[in-house]
């Protein structure tokens, strides 16, 4: 029988995926309506965001390595890779904050137009999920640093990992649709 924790987290992520799917559909639905003012094409900088995105993508690899160290019982490796994961996630959040401040400075907010409201809703909820994941990673890191890693169940570690991969995967889709799509046409 499958592990109940992994199954539970998997189902939770399924419901999260559908939540994001609806926000994404709302974005796509309104993206096809031509409108004046700020849009993805004239307000976003895909290259700069790509740099921050790569940090998030890399963090999927580092948490994978943290998990490998965890299974092999290498405490130092776990702490190191987790620290790197948190740092990469933090850089991504920093990037998103800078992007938001830049948009605000140009008068693009959630109430500006349809692009503003769909963009900030979609990426904002993703950002909240990254923050939440950083909390989980931080908790794991704290446990690892204080040398109580033996009390962490493998399935618990796996749950945080699954969540983090999910947050990453959602960003792959968002990056593709929000940042790359307008460049293709």
């Amino acid at each position: 029988m499958p592990d109940k924790t992994k199954l539970g987290v998997g189902l939770f992520l399924l419901s999260e995926a559908i939540f994001f799917l609806i926000l994404l559909l709302a974005y796509v639905y309104f993206h096809s309506v031509p409108s004046d003012g700020p849009s993805a094409a004239n307000s976003l900088n895909p290259m700069r965001t790509l740099v921050f995105s790569i940090c998030l993508f890399l963090s999927s690899a580092t948490i994978h390595l943290a998990g490998r160290s965890f299974r092999q019982g290498e405490r130092r490796g776990v702490s190191l890779w987790l620290m790197l994961t948190v740092a990469l996630g933090g850089i991504f959040m920093f990037g998103q904050a800078r992007e938001y401040l830049g948009l605000f400075a140009h008068g693009v907010t959630v109430s500006t137009n349809l692009f503003g409201c769909t963009f900030f809703t979609l990426t904002g909820f993703h950002g909240l999920h990254v923050l939440f994941g950083l909390g989980g990673l931080g908790a794991l890191l704290g446990v690892a640093m204080s040398g109580r890693l033996g009390q962490v169940k493998p399935s618990g570690f796996e749950a945080v990992t699954m969540y983090w991969h999910f947050v990453d995967a959602v960003w792959v889709v968002i990056f593709g649709v929000v940042y790359l799509w307008p460049r293709l046409s």
């Binding site: 109940k4 709302a26 137009n113 409201c117 809703t121």
Partner: protein, 560 residues
């Protein structure tokens, strides 16, 4: 008997509470049985509140041009009535039965995640209280939400609903949504991971099957509502434009999002009811269910189809011919697996030794009432009929035949069936039968006539109506029916109160039922099965135990 048959389900969490006593032992409980009872009591409380709102509306509608309620208050009442009955009564009552029964039926000690179980319950309760807090908001624009249970934009936007009522509605439903999703996850994990040895997925009781499929639907569709709710909330609080047509948004998008959730929600409210019926009818017919596989498989078919029928709520929007055609066909199609079940239950009754207990009467009432609701429902799949009938009392009659005549009747059947297990005492059968007949008469008097009112063109959600020929009489009849129905609920409550004190002691298995919940004491001990789970070699372990000479297994071989 296998002593080691109970898997490690608890992580040692559940027994800490035994030291606590009184109300604290309930509030702090993570035991699935206590939480199940609290779900049932909580949802029954909201059932009474929602019922009182309905009675007040029926008083207002009893005579034409009546001024018992103001239009504003009437709007608030029908909004709160619908929201309450859907989110705070039917779903949590079904989840409550599942929370109590599923671990027992599969031979587990508790749910997969006992603490999460408690969280689910309390988040839902506080969501409900948040929703009702809206009545306390004051001022000209204060009061409860008054936009109907599906909160159509742009009516639900700040331009038309300036007060905070809709905000409370959104936050309340978000809480309820989160609680329901976590309950769904918990139920799936319990059913998949914690079945006792021998309890293969094709042997679990049909109530468990229905619960699992319902839980999948919950996990898949509740987040659709949540996404819609946060978009509406962002519109209202941050001045965004999702559903505001005046600044480029789309009111129709809200309808799509809401009904993509809303129609599967209807099946979330009916599938576990099917499960209860699939337990009650075989036991009181003295026969195993006819076509177990068909009942289970048709449920899967319903669940998949239910994801693709939502726009039959939107035929009046004018989405285009091809669109209407697709959703008309899918809505006709979903009637087929539902019909399959009706035949399964009827075939189970056929040549059975039927015991007309109150539980069985409610189950038979369900068969008839739900069939009527199903027939009026499938009529709406025909687009022209929908155009004619939409937003009339015909719709009101239909939904009440499905959700009261269907789900509520099944829930009453479940209460009479499982009350002995939960409380250790039998519900009084004589009062039970009075309850049943009053419910049946009151229900049909209230809602049958509304089909006619709808066909005559009486619109729903309008606080009064002119004195057209016959309307006053029909509405008065409906109101009288509503009070008969309310009286039947009083009798039910009296029966519960009396039976809890002085009902006959039930014993482990008063109905000669076959599923595992009847293998333990009534009420079950904290760890459910003190003496281990009986061996499970088929779908009816207690039958096999009682008839070792003709177990289901042997009979299957004989047939082959």
């Amino acid at each position: 008997m296998k002593q080691a048959a109970i898997p490690d389900t608890l992580g040692g969490e559940s027994f800490e509470e035994e030291a606590r006593e009184g109300w604290l032992s309930w509030v702090s409980s993570v035991d699935h049985k206590k939480l199940g009872i609290m779900y049932l009591l909580g949802s029954f409380f909201f059932f009474l509140v929602g019922g009182i709102l309905a009675l007040l509306m029926r008083v207002q509608l009893a005579a034409p041009n009546n001024h018992f309620l103001s239009p504003q208050v009437y709007n608030q009442f029908f909004t709160m009535h619908g929201t309450t009955m859907v989110f705070l009564v039917l779903v949590p009552m079904l989840v409550g039965f599942a929370t109590y029964m599923v671990p027992l039926m599969i031979g587990a000690r508790d749910m997969a995640f006992p603490r999460l179980n408690a969280l689910s319950f309390w988040v839902q309760i506080f969501g409900g209280l948040m929703l009702y807090f809206s009545f306390a908001t004051s001022g000209v624009n204060g009061g409860a939400p008054a936009v109907g249970w599906f909160s159509y934009a742009p009516l639900s936007e700040t331009a038309y609903s300036y007060g905070p009522g809709v905000n409370y509605w959104i936050l309340g439903l978000l809480g309820i949504g989160v609680g329901t999703i976590t309950a769904g996850i918990n139920l799936i994990a319990t059913i998949i991971c914690l079945r006792a040895p021998g309890m293969s997925i094709r042997r679990v009781p049909l109530f468990v099957w229905m619960t699992m499929i319902t839980a999948f639907l919950i996990v898949v569709v509740m987040p659709i509502l949540n996404a819609g709710l946060v978009m509406l909330l962002i519109d209202r609080l941050l001045n965004a434009h999702f559903f505001r047509a005046d600044s480029g948004g789309s009111a129709v998008l809200w309808q799509h999002v809401f009904w993509a959730f809303g129609h599967p929600e209807v099946y979330i409210m009916i599938l576990p009811a099917f499960g209860i019926i699939s337990e009650v009818i075989p036991v009181f017919s003295g026969k195993p269910i006819y076509g177990y596989d068909f009942v289970a498989a048709s449920t899967l078919a319903i669940a998949f189809l239910s994801l693709a029928v939502w726009a039959h709520h939107m035929f009046a929007v004018g989405l285009g011919h091809a669109f209407d055609l697709f959703f008309a066909i899918s809505s006709f199609a979903i009637a087929v697996p539902t019909g399959v079940k009706i035949f399964n239950w009827t075939a189970t009754l056929y040549q059975g030794r039927i015991r007309f207990t109150t539980s069985m009467l409610f189950a038979l009432g369900f068969l008839l009432m739900f069939t009527i609701g199903g027939l009026s429902g499938v009529a709406f799949a025909a687009v022209p009929i929908d155009w004619q009938m939409t937003d009339s009392y015909f719709v009101v009659a239909h939904i009440h035949y499905v959700l009261f005549g269907g789900t509520m009747f099944a829930l009453f059947a479940g209460v009479y069936y499982w009350f002995p297990k939960i409380s250790g005492r039998m519900l009084n059968e004589r009062w039970g039968k009075v309850h049943f007949w009053l419910t049946l008469i009151g229900f049909n008097l209230t809602f049958m006539i509304q089909h006619v009112l709808g066909m005559l063109g009486m619109p729903r959600r309008v606080f009064t109506y002119p004195a057209l020929p016959g309307w006053a009489e029909m509405n008065m009849a409906s109101t009288i029916g509503a009070f008969v129905l309310a009286f039947s609920v009083l009798i039910f409550m009296v029966n519960i109160a009396i039976s809890l004190r002085s009902g006959a002691v039930a014993g482990d298995n008063p109905w000669d039922a076959w599923t595992l919940e009847w293998a333990t004491t009534s009420p079950p001990p904290p760890e459910n099965f003190t003496h281990g789970v009986p061996p499970i070699r088929g779908r009816r372990p207690l039958w096999d135990l009682a008839h070792p000479d003709r177990t289901d297994e042997m009979m299957m071989k004989l047939v082959k």
